[in-house]
């Protein structure tokens, strides 16, 4: 049971990749990239977790009690906020592709030229 977070992270990665490969809409593809990113969050969180330890906020627990790893949480935190702006950039690209080609289907994109 203690390996369940790793399995969930691998499952999210594979299902997100499946969504990217079989996508018929560029916006759907961008969201599946977001699912792949969330798989890395679950993995990092599982690595930082210590069983039975509280959160690393020492305002109401005594400083020095064993707590969960804060370094990994710091990585995930900035990553989440950066994810939304990178997703905005991907969506802006998808909108421009639609403007040039008239379609959002990745399978039809190379066929419409000129």
């Amino acid at each position: 049971m203690n390996f369940l977070p790793y399995l969930v992270s691998a499952w999210l990665f594979l299902i997100g990749l499946y969504g990217v490969v079989t996508s018929r809409n560029l916006v759907h593809l961008c969201i599946c990239v977001g699912v792949i990113q969330s798989s890395s969050y679950v993995l990092l969180l599982a690595i930082g977790y210590r069983i039975g330890c509280p959160a690393p906020i020492f305002i109401d627990i005594k400083p020095g009690t064993p707590a969960v790893d804060p370094v990994v949480q710091a990585l995930i935190l900035t990553d989440i906020v950066v994810e939304v702006t990178v997703m905005a950039l991907l969506l802006a690209l998808a909108v421009q592709i639609h403007k040039r080609n008239g379609t959002l289907d990745p399978n039809l994109l190379h066929a419409m030229k000129g």
């Binding site: 049971m1 203690n2 369940l4 977070p5 969930v8 499952w11 999210l12 299902i15 997100g16 499946y18 969504g19 018929r24 809409n25 916006v27 759907h28 961008c30 969201i31 599946c32 977001g34 699912v35 969330s38 798989s39 969050y41 679950v42 969180l45 599982a46 930082g48 977790y49 069983i51 330890c53 509280p54 959160a55 906020i57 707590a67 969960v68 949480q73 995930i76 935190l77 989440i80 906020v81 994810e83 939304v84 997703m87 905005a88 969506l91 802006a92 998808a94 909108v95 639609h98 403007k99 008239g102 959002l104």
Partner: protein, 85 residues
């Protein structure tokens, strides 16, 4: 690993599958919002309140908003494209 954590992990896996299998982007925006909420509960249960705060604001509010705005622009461009044909 407490039963709550196991339950939430399975829910997150199911939520991710649901996000990918929803093909229409407009309904996918709502499913993504719910998935972001599930992820923030997961982060909270794993003793990471900062990360849960970040995920709630970003995943349930800002991300579906960007998706819906992109879809609205695409719809408008599609209408102009059909008119000019």
């Amino acid at each position: 690993m407490t039963p709550l954590q196991i339950f939430i992990l399975l829910f997150v896996a199911a939520g991710g599958t649901g996000v990918v299998l929803t093909r229409d982007p407009a309904s996918q925006a709502i499913v993504v919002s719910f998935y972001g909420f599930l992820l923030s509960i997961l982060f909270f249960v794993f003793q990471a309140p900062d990360v849960a705060l970040s995920q709630i604001v970003v995943g349930a509010v800002a991300l579906p908003l960007m998706i819906l705005l992109a879809l609205a622009r695409v719809k408008k461009q599609q209408r102009e494209h059909d008119k000019s044909r």
